[in-house]
Symmetry: C2
Subunit: 561 residues, 2 copies
């Protein structure tokens, strides 16, 4: 038995118990405080990040390369990162990945899980460095980059490892099967062997390079597959660090580092397509735009390849009434503002009845409710220095285009501007494009306006005939165009029940009456499912059984005894 | 709680225990004896079958129809069946299926499982009638049609129900999540609701109309989906009876019979394509040829639809040595002969070293071993009246073409005939085309000869340089072209270990040294996996977690408490 199996026995048991019951569990503290991560950890993280910049990334060891390098990363806060990554020799890498698998397969589920925990623990120790890497590739504000890119991503990684372990250990290793018969019973011994599917390909995204890549990466690795990680060309560093740590731990643990390889590319090279069609690739995990997601499902995902995608959707909020107007407004203002709405879980479509809403501050007309929400956002983002720590920076020109000319956007979709986006000056990074959330009011009948994802800091206030219509539109739009989150505000149990029915039909998770420190954009590992797989936004769910059960297969050998 | 939950509590518990441990379990007795199924059951079955013939099939109740009928069934034993099935009105059927789902969803996993058991029990009571229906659509011999089409299929159905139940019950119904905080802990109640994916489409095959359809049918139904069953145009009756029973039980249990509907078609109509592309369809289970299977995976299976396929492969036998030549020969002769090799699990490619094999009867050269195997088949099928009870009838013209001109087939592939197929006269059905298995010897280098499925009573004896080469060819051909079964004969543990390594790489289940009453073609529900999902022959496995885990989704609603 591998040494690490004892080392990490307890965490695997605890995490498995939490996942089965979906109770609270976290291994990796979300506070960046030196009291948690040690004195000097923040400074060491900054130093490690700065030392990596403007140099060749050497920590991938003997990963096969073509000899040249790629370097497309420019921080959304301004400066190019200047890190040059060795370009992967794909043929050699695939051969190496295949060759590495038999020993990893034969180590068994528990040894693999223990090695994975060790990898995640070592990544956790570098969380401050990772925070800078995530911040300067995604544009997330620092604390969010630390949390979502570090411990929250690590908890999701551990969750995937545990889900994979539990799933593999449900298969008995051996059984004696005894069939009664008139004469002697027929006895056979059957050995069940867990085998990997092949090479897993993980295609990372720009906005959550680690959080969205770890579940697939660790689920595939823990089930015996080798993994090739293809980061977004502008968000390589967080996954380069991840792969480097994984290779280091695998080597120390006596396995072949070719089990995890980095396939960095320059902007526009289309390496994901090439990798996705390689015959060695059996599993693909993808987060990104729906067009390429659809291509992966249709062209790469047929036959022997399993494709897990998370693309885009219409996250919806239905407001009927509230007994805590202030709490609702501040909760929503935060959800819209956090990382400038550049989360796959950020709310976009807010359904409000034309007749207005009842609140603890009295009845508000549609326009009054809209004005209150606008004011809440305005106040929450009023102070530039504080605002940038929530808003972060806009990640790309598409988002900037939408955020910087909201009146044009409103005119194009036939809506009216309730709140324009404001340019915020970042005190430390003058080149960063930072924008506050905008609100555009549209009529429910104007479906074209709000039936596509509008990624970034723009939300629609949709004037409906009734809450019944609001819920109906939620269901219809999510069924058709997908959705990662839904939220409802209502004081009456009947409306809440209607909302629960609506999301059961829509296939999207519901948060009810969030007025405190929990936001609809956020899910907790081990308890909240991320995605449902029941609408077009995602077929991947972090982490349900379906996310891990198809990543390995069982090969039986049977004989008479 | 539904009444049937108590009625079937025990069987669900017992079956779940068996499935988890993969020990022996069977609910439905495989003996057609009146001591088991009751005095007169055989006669009543015959009568019921005869009464159904040459008439409209009325037992589908108020299933929506277009008003006309379809009738393409001709018994492989000769006579047309003459059953006229109402043609399904697809638009109305899909609307009815969708409307039926919410109440079925809200009944919960255990009530659904109990209703499914009741359906299977009622099907079991009609096993003699089903045996005739299966025999006269597939061409299976009677006893096989009874067992494989009846109790064995029913056990596989129950297995799918239990796997689905266990998988759904792994999801907790509710939890209070409590996150520690410096102040008061943050508490949320989270309700997890199992929801169906949509309409399941089951596309049946000609040779095993029930056995291959039941796992998908019952897995989809038990997870809350409605199911449309599209039988093979020449094997409708077994599934028509099945659907009729399901609708009857659903109605009695207080559910909408539109949860299970039959979509019969005439030969060549291409209804499966139309159904597979319907937006309501979210799950597809298919058994049949690889060309349509590939189309389903590529065209229908992208995006929100999950496609489970079982198509075709190269089932392989590697012979190195044996300490029971007689047992080996009779076991293989039976496996080749059973249903004229028209099983997806029947062996086709037999790898024998050119240097011959060691046996308890002394060393046999390749030619001697081939001759012994030919002689064993000849003797086993010598008596026409006995032979037809194993061989059954050839199911279609493709099979007949291959079986009736083996010398031409051998010449085409560059092989030599070791044993020609013999025409057998069926004592009761003179029009049936019944053929004994043929053996064609080819050189291993002549890969073209044996790298495609040759469905029916023809097997290849492949002359290899060594058992090492035999195992290498097994791995390569199965990786490339798929395989449902593999088998090895070897007296030494080292060769058996090599074989286990080879099948782990190939991704196919192995039977070792079968010389008794267990055959490589046969798998036992609750213990043996049917298929592995690890090679191109099938991505569906009866029944692993992956087969059921993606058939439902979980929708959460969370709120502060």
């Amino acid at each position: 038995m591998h040494d690490l199996v004892n080392t990490h026995h307890e965490v695997l048991e605890e995490a498995a118990t939490a996942l089965a019951s979906r109770t609270y569990y976290s291994r990796y503290p979300e506070s960046p405080s030196p009291r948690v991560y040690g004195e000097g950890s923040a400074e060491r993280g900054t130093q490690a990040f700065e030392e990596t910049r403007n140099d060749v990334f050497r920590a991938l060891g003997d990963q096969p390369t073509t000899g040249d390098h790629v370097a497309s990363e420019v921080s959304p806060y301004g400066p190019p990162l200047g890190v040059r990554y060795p370009r992967l020799d794909v043929d050699a890498a695939m051969a190496a990945a295949r060759a590495a698998m038999p020993a990893w397969r034969d180590a068994g589920p528990r040894a693999r899980a223990a090695v994975c925990v060790e990898i995640i623990d070592r990544i956790n120790a570098r969380s401050h460095e990772m925070a800078h890497a995530v911040m300067h590739t995604s544009g997330q504000p620092f604390v969010m980059a630390f949390q979502a890119g570090g411990p929250h991503a690590q908890d999701r990684a551990l969750e995937a490892v545990v889900a994979a372990l539990v799933e593999q250990e449900r298969v008995p290793e051996t059984v004696v099967w005894e069939k009664p018969s008139k004469r002697e019973p027929v006895r056979m011994r059957k050995d069940f062997r867990v085998v990997p599917r092949g090479v897993g390909l993980v295609i990372g995204c720009n906005t959550f390079p680690t959080w969205n890549a770890y579940p697939g990466l660790f689920a595939s690795l823990a089930t015996g597959n080798a993994v090739v990680v293809k980061p977004h060309p502008r968000a390589v560093l967080p996954l380069a660090i991840t792969v480097a740590v994984a290779r280091e731990v695998l080597t120390e643990a006596g396995f072949d580092p070719a089990l995890v390889q980095l396939a960095a590319e320059d902007d526009g090279e289309g390496l994901a397509k090439e990798l996705a069609l390689r015959p060695e690739v059996a599993l693909i995990d993808y987060t990104g735009g729906p067009a390429f997601g659809r291509w992966l499902e249709q062209e790469a995902g047929s036959g022997a390849r399993q494709v897990y995608t998370e693309t885009a959707g219409l996250n919806s909020v239905v407001v009927h009434s509230t007994d805590d107007l202030k709490g609702m407004l501040s909760n929503l203002a935060f959800s819209f503002s956090l990382y400038s709405g550049q989360m796959c879980t950020a709310p976009q479509n807010v359904y409000l009845p034309a007749g207005g809403i009842d609140t603890d501050q009295g009845h508000l007309s549609f326009d009054e409710a809209a004005a209150e929400l606008a004011e809440a956002i305005r106040q929450f983002t009023a102070d530039d220095a504080k605002a940038v720590e929530v808003l972060g920076a806009t990640v790309n020109d598409d988002v900037r285009a939408r955020a910087t000319d909201v009146p044009a956007l409103a005119e194009r979709v036939g809506g009216t501007v309730v709140l324009d986006s404001r340019a915020v000056t970042h005190p430390s990074y003058p080149d960063a494009v930072v924008r506050t959330p905008a609100l555009v009011a549209v009529d429910a009948a104007n479906r074209e306006a709000y039936r596509a994802e509008c990624f970034g800091p723009v939300a629609f206030l949709i004037r409906t005939g009734s809450t019944e219509e609001s819920l109906q539109l939620l269901t219809e739009t999510v069924r058709e165009h997908g959705g990662m989150t839904a939220s409802v505000y209502a004081t009456g149990e009947e409306t809440l029940e209607d909302a629960r029915e609506a999301v059961a039909e829509a296939g999207v998770a519901l948060s009810e009456n969030l007025t405190g420190p929990i936001y609809v954009n956020q899910t907790a590992a081990f308890s909240d499912y991320h995605g449902t797989g029941a609408n077009p936004a995602a077929n991947a769910v972090y982490t349900d059984a379906a996310f891990v059960a198809s990543r390995f297969r069982v090969v039986t050998s049977r004989r008479h005894v």
